[in-house]
C-alpha cells in the first residue's frame, strides 16, 4: 500500500477566520480513508485545497510523489484526482447520460488508451444503476439519484483518488448500503478513496483509516476502533452536539 495523496501542514485563512490549521492528511491506495469532524471543521475546505478550488495560505499538496500545490484544478483532475461535492454540482441542463459522457470524453485529453467514451459511459450507467434515468435532465431527478450521477461522473474520469463529500446525505438506508458496497468494490480495484461523512455507522463500516478534524486541526488519526476510543474525539463530538442542540 502506497501513499498516493498527502497534504502537508495545510493552512487556509478566510480573512480573520482560520478554517484549516496545519492539517496533514494521508490517503493510501486500495483503501477508504475517512475524514470526519463536526460542522464547520474545515473538511470541505480541505477537499477544495486538494482539488485546487481553494488556494492554501500555506502548506503543500503532494500527489503521486509530485508537488501539485500550484497546479490548476483541471490539471489535477487530469493527473487523477476526482471528487463529488457536498452541495450538488451536477450539470443540471444536461441529461444524466450527458453528464457522464462529458467527463468520459474529457478523459481522452490525457488518457490515450483509445477507449470509446460512449462505451465507458454505458458501463458506468450500468454499474451505478442509472441506465433507466439516463435520458432525463439531471435537474429533474431526485437528489439521491443526482448524487449518484455526480459519483458516476467522477468515476468516468477513471481517477486514482476519489474524494467524496458526504455522499450519503439525501440517500435512504438502502441506497446508502448500495453506496457502501460500491465503494468497497472500487477500492478492491485499487482506487484510493477519501470520504467525508457524518453518518458514523457508514464511516466506521467502510473506512480502514480515519482522520478527525476539529476547528481546522487534525486532533486524531487511526483505525476506526482507535478513533472511537479517543477522548479528544468524543469531546469534539459532544461539544458539537451541545452546540447544535442549543441553536
Amino acid at each position: 500500500m502506497t501513499t498516493i495523496l498527502e497534504t502537508q501542514e495545510v493552512v487556509v485563512r478566510f480573512g480573520v477566520l482560520q478554517a484549516v490549521s496545519k492539517a496533514s492528511i494521508k490517503v493510501e491506495t486500495g483503501q477508504v480513508t475517512g475524514l470526519i469532524g463536526p460542522n464547520g471543521a474545515g473538511k470541505t475546505t480541505c477537499f477544495n485545497v486538494i482539488t485546487g478550488l481553494q488556494e492554501a495560505t500555506s502548506g503543500k499538496v503532494m500527489f503521486d510523489g509530485k508537488d501539485i500545490t500550484n497546479k490548476s484544478p483541471f490539471k489535477r483532475a487530469r493527473m487523477g484526482i476526482s471528487r463529488t461535492f457536498q452541495k450538488l454540482e451536477v450539470f443540471g441542463s444536461l441529461s444524466a447520460r450527458e453528464n457522464i459522457l462529458v467527463a468520459a470524453e474529457q478523459r481522452r485529453a490525457w488518457d490515450k488508451s483509445g477507449f470509446d467514451p460512449k462505451t465507458v459511459c454505458d458501463e458506468i450507467l450500468e454499474s451505478t444503476g442509472l441506465t433507466d434515468v439516463s435520458e432525463f435532465m439531471v435537474g429533474t431527478l431526485p437528489t439521491g439519484t443526482a448524487r449518484l450521477v455526480e459519483l458516476a461522473r467522477a468515476l468516468a474520469s477513471d481517477p486514482k483518488v476519489l474524494l467524496l463529500d458526504e455522499p450519503s446525505s439525501g440517500l435512504n438506508e438502502e441506497e446508502t448500503e448500495g453506496m457502501a458496497s460500491l465503494l468497497r468494490r472500487l477500492v478492491a480495484k485499487g482506487l484510493a478513496v477519501l470520504l467525508v461523512e457524518h453518518d458514523m455507522s457508514f464511516v466506521m463500516g467502510t473506512c480502514e483509516y480515519i482522520h478527525v478534524l476539529d476547528f481546522g486541526s487534525i486532533i486524531a488519526t487511526g483505525t476506526p476502533l482507535e478513533i472511537q476510543a479517543n477522548p479528544h474525539v468524543q469531546a469534539a463530538y459532544l461539544g458539537a452536539e451541545t452546540v447544535e442542540e442549543a441553536s
Binding site: L17, V90, W110
Partner: protein, 735 residues
C-alpha cells in the same frame, strides 16, 4: 503568486507605454505647465469626476446590497433629469422644490416600485436573466423618456446660478454650478458612508446580500431593506442626471451612456468598495478633462475622447484579481426537455424556409392586401434585415445559451464584419471576401473576451458593452474603416449559386430566400452541434464551472473556442448585413442598437436555436404593430420599449417563450402526459415559493446589533478593504 504579480506588472508597463504613446501623439497646442490650463483641467475634471462619483457610488451601493447590477441606473437618472426639467422649466417650480420632488419623492417611489415588481424576483435568478431584465429596464426607461419628451425639440437645463460669475481660482473661474457639484459629491460620499456603517438600516442593507437570516438579526424587514437600496440607487442616479444634464444637454443617449462610466468606476471598486467607486469616478472625470484640455485627437480619431471610459474599464479589468471557482451556487431547473433529433431539426429548418418562402411570394392570403406586414418591396427588404438580425441571434446561442457567457458585442462585431467586407470582396462582388471576414471575426470575438475570461460573468457583460461603444466611437469611425464622405453603395451585386444578391428592388426576394436558406442551414448545424461533445462541454462549464474543472475541462480554452465560433458567425451575419443595407454610415452601429437583438433572443429562450427565428419574427412584429395602428407618435419607440418590457418579463418567466410554449403545446398532445404533469408541478412549485417569500418578508426580528455583529458582517461581506490583523481570530483549537 510571483507569476501573477509579474503578469500584472507587465500589463501595467504595456498599458503605460500605450497611454504615453497615445498622449504624446495627440498632444494639442495647450501647454501643460501653464497655470491656466492646469487649473481648467482640474476644475473641470473634479466637477465632472464628482458627478461620475455620485452615480458610480449609487450603482455600487445597490450592487453590494442587492447583488444585482443595474444596467438601467443611468437611464433612470436620465428619466429623472427630464422629470426635473419638466418641473422646473415647464412648470416653473423653484429649483430646490423641483429637486426635492424629483429626488425625494419620485426617485424613491421608482426605487420601491422596481424592487417590488422586478428586483426581488431577480435576486435568485441566473446571471443571464438578471442582465437581460436590467438591460431591458434600461431600454424601457430610454424609450419612455424619448416618447414623453420627443427629441425633435432641443431642451436645456440651466446651470445652478447660471448668470452669476463664479469664483476666481487662480486664472480660471470655477462656476457656482461646479462648486456646488463638488460639494454635493462630497456630501453624498459622507452620507453614504454614514448610512451604510452607522445606521441600522444601512447595516441591514449590507447584510442582506449574503444572508437574509443575518439581515434578520439586525432587525429590519427584508422588503424595506431591499426597497431602500433601490430607492437610494434611484436617488443617486437622478442627482447625477440633474447635475450633468446642463453640461451634456438633455439628450437621452448621452445620459444613458453614463452607465459605461459608472460601470468603469464600479470595476475599479471591484463592485464592492464605495470609497473606491468615488475614486474611480474621479479618475474618469479627470481623464476626460485631461483629454479635452490637452489632447487634440486628429480628425481620424475625432470621437476618441468619448471612448475614455471604455478604455478605463478595459484597463481596470486587466488588474482585477482572478475569480474563484465557487461551489454551492448550482441552480437546478425542472425541464423535462430532450435533445432535438437531427430529423426534427431538419424539419424545423425546412419549415422556416417554407414559411418565409410562402410569405415572400404572397401565398399567405391573410397577410396580402392588409397593412399587416403586407408583402411589399419595403417589407421584403425589412424581412431580410430581420433575418440578418436573426443570424446575429444564432451566433449568440452557443455563447450565451450554452456556455453562459453574456456578450453584448456581437452586433458590433457584425458591424466590423460588414465594414471589412466592403473592403475585401464586397466592392468587387467577390464571395471569397466572406470567408476572409469570418476568419478575421473569429479571433476578434476572442480578443474582446480575453481580458474578462478569468473574471466573473458580469465583468464580461460590461467589457462587451464597452467594446460595442468603443467600436461605434473609435473603430468604425476611422476613415480607413468607413470613409464618412462615401455615402454611396459599398457593395457590388454578388452572385452566389446562380442568384444575384443586391439591394435592388428586383433582387430582394432572391436575397431573402438566400438568407433564409443560410439561416436554416446554420440552425441545422447548431442543432447538430448541440448533440456534440463541444456543446456538452460548454453547457457543463456554464452549469457548474467548479465541477467542470474537476473533471479536467480547461475552462479558458473551452470559453475561447466558443467565443471564436460566435465571432465567426457574427462576422458572417455582418457580411449579410452589409449586403442588405448596401450603404453604411459611420453611425450605423450605435451600442444601443445591438441590445434589442440580445434581449429578444433571450426572451424567446437563449438555449434553443429555434429562438433565433422566433426572435427575428419578434423584431419584425414591432414595426408591423406600429403600422397596424397607423404609426402613431406614442409608438415611435416601440422598438426600444417592446424588447425592454419583454426582457423585464423574464423575471417572471426566465426560461424563454420557446420553452414555455413548447411545454404548453406538448401538453395538448394526447400522448404527452409528462408535459402536463410537469406543468402542474411547476405551477405548484411557484405557488409555494411565493408563499415562502411572503413568510421571509414578514420575518421582523427586532434584536439590537452589537459592535462585533457589525464586525462580523463586514468580514462576511468583505466590505471593509483592510483586515485588522490584531483582531485575527484563530479558531485553530489546539495549534
Amino acid at each position: 503568486m510571483r507569476i501573477k504579480f509579474n503578469a500584472k506588472f507587465i500589463s501595467a508597463i504595456v498599458v503605460g507605454v500605450i497611454l504615453a504613446f497615445v498622449i504624446n501623439k495627440n498632444w494639442g497646442a495647450a501647454s501643460f505647465l501653464s497655470t491656466k490650463n492646469l487649473s481648467t483641467f482640474l476644475v473641470v475634471g473634479v466637477a465632472l469626476g464628482g458627478i461620475y462619483a455620485i452615480t458610480a457610488g449609487g450603482l455600487v451601493v445597490t450592487y453590494a446590497t442587492t447583488g444585482i447590477f443595474n444596467f438601467a441606473h443611468a437611464a433612470i437618472g436620465c428619466f429623472l433629469a427630464f422629470v426635473y426639467w419638466q418641473l422646473s422649466v415647464q412648470f416653473h417650480i423653484p429649483t430646490l422644490l423641483a429637486m426635492a420632488i424629483t429626488l425625494l419623492v419620485i426617485a424613491p417611489a421608482i426605487g420601491f416600485l422596481l424592487d417590488k415588481v422586478l428586483m426581488r424576483r431577480l435576486r435568485d435568478a441566473s446571471l443571464v436573466v438578471q442582465l437581460m431584465a436590467t438591460v431591458g429596464l434600461m431600454l424601457t426607461f430610454m424609450g419612455i423618456t424619448l416618447t414623453v419628451w420627443t427629441p425633435k425639440k432641443a431642451r436645456t437645463l440651466d446651470h445652478f446660478f447660471e448668470h452669476t460669475k463664479g469664483v476666481q481660482l487662480g486664472s480660471v473661474i470655477a462656476t457656482w454650478h461646479r462648486i456646488i457639484t463638488v460639494v454635493i459629491a462630497l456630501l453624498v460620499a459622507v452620507a453614504l458612508r454614514w448610512l451604510l456603517y452607522r445606521t441600522r438600516l444601512g447595516i441591514s442593507m449590507r447584510a442582506v446580500v449574503d444572508s437574509r437570516s443575518l439581515a434578520g438579526l439586525t432587525g429590519a424587514k427584508p422588503s424595506i431593506i431591499s426597497g431602500s437600496s433601490w430607492a437610494l440607487g434611484c436617488m443617486t442616479a437622478g442627482l447625477a442626471g440633474i447635475l450633468i444634464a446642463p453640461e451634456t444637454g438633455l439628450v437621452v443617449e448621452n445620459l444613458a451612456l453614463i452607465i459605461i462610466v459608472a460601470a468603469a468606476a464600479a470595476a475599479i471598486a471591484q463592485l464592492k468598495s464605495i470609497p473606491m467607486a468615488f475614486v474611480g469616478g474621479l479618475i474618469i472625470g479627470l481623464a476626460t478633462s485631461f483629454s479635452s484640455t490637452f489632447l487634440q485627437f486628429g480628425t481620424d480619431w475625432s470621437y476618441a475622447g468619448e471612448a475614455i471610459p471604455c478604455v478605463i474599464l478595459f484597463i481596470a479589468l486587466l488588474f482585477l484579481p482572478q475569480a474563484r471557482l465557487e461551489t454551492g451556487k448550482v441552480r437546478l431547473t425542472k425541464r423535462t426537455e430532450r435533445l432535438t433529433k437531427p430529423w426534427e431539426a431538419g424539419l424545423g429548418g425546412l419549415s422556416m424556409v417554407l414559411i418565409v418562402g410562402l410569405w415572400a411570394n404572397g401565398w399567405i392570403p391573410w397577410f396580402s392586401g392588409t397593412n399587416w406586414g403586407e408583402r411589399s418591396t419595403v417589407w421584403l427588404g425589412r424581412g431580410a434585415g430581420f433575418l440578418v438580425f436573426g443570424l446575429i441571434m444564432l451566433s449568440l446561442i452557443p455563447l450565451i445559451g450554452w456556455a453562459g457567457q453574456v456578450s453584448f458585442a456581437n452586433y458590433a462585431i457584425a458591424g466590423i464584419g460588414a465594414v471589412l467586407f466592403s473592403h475585401f470582396g464586397g466592392q468587387n462582388g467577390n464571395p471569397i471576401g466572406i470567408v476572409f471576414v469570418v476568419l478575421v471575426c473569429a479571433p476578434l470575438g476572442l480578443a474582446i473576451a480575453l481580458p474578462a475570461l478569468r473574471l466573473k460573468g458580469l465583468y464580461l457583460a460590461l467589457a462587451t458593452m464597452a467594446f460595442a461603444e468603443f467600436t461605434d466611437k473609435v473603430l468604425i469611425r476611422h476613415p480607413s474603416m468607413l470613409d464618412p464622405s462615401n455615402s454611396g453603395v459599398l457593395y457590388k451585386p454578388l452572385r452566389i449559386l446562380g442568384i444575384t444578391i443586391s439591394t435592388d428592388a428586383a433582387d430582394r426576394k432572391a436575397f431573402l430566400m438566400f438568407l433564409v436558406v443560410m439561416f436554416a442551414l446554420l440552425f441545422f448545424m447548431l442543432e447538430l452541434l448541440r448533440r456534440s461533445r463541444w456543446a456538452r462541454r460548454w453547457i457543463a462549464i456554464s452549469d457548474s464551472p467548479a465541477a467542470a474543472a474537476t473533471i479536467g475541462i480547461n475552462l479558458t480554452t473551452s470559453k475561447m473556442a466558443v467565443f471564436m465560433l460566435s465571432g465567426a458567425m457574427a462576422g458572417f451575419a455582418g457580411c449579410m448585413l452589409g449586403l442588405q443595407t448596401g450603404a453604411l454610415r459611420v453611425d450605423s452601429f450605435p451600442m444601443f442598437a445591438g441590445l434589442p437583438i440580445v434581449l429578444l433572443l433571450a426572451v424567446q429562450g437563449v438555449r434553443y436555436p429555434v429562438a433565433a427565428f422566433m426572435g427575428a419574427l419578434g423584431l419584425a412584429s414591432f414595426p408591423a404593430i406600429s403600422e397596424v395602428f397607423g404609426n402613431p407618435s406614442w409608438l415611435t419607440q416601440l422598438a426600444l420599449i417592446g424588447p425592454g418590457i419583454a426582457a423585464i418579463a423574464m423575471a417572471y418567466r426566465p426560461e424563454g417563450a420557446v420553452f414555455y410554449s413548447g411545454r404548453d403545446l406538448a401538453g395538448l398532445l394526447p400522448w404527452r402526459n409528462d408535459a402536463r404533469e410537469e406543468k402542474a408541478l411547476f405551477t405548484a412549485k411557484e405557488r409555494s415559493e411565493n408563499i415562502q417569500k411572503d413568510e421571509i418578508n414578514d420575518m421582523g426580528l427586532s434584536r439590537p446589533f452589537s459592535e462585533d455583529k457589525v464586525a462580523q458582517l463586514d468580514r462576511v461581506l468583505s466590505i471593509t478593504d483592510a483586515v485588522d490583523e490584531t483582531k485575527m481570530v484563530n479558531t485553530g483549537g489546539q495549534s
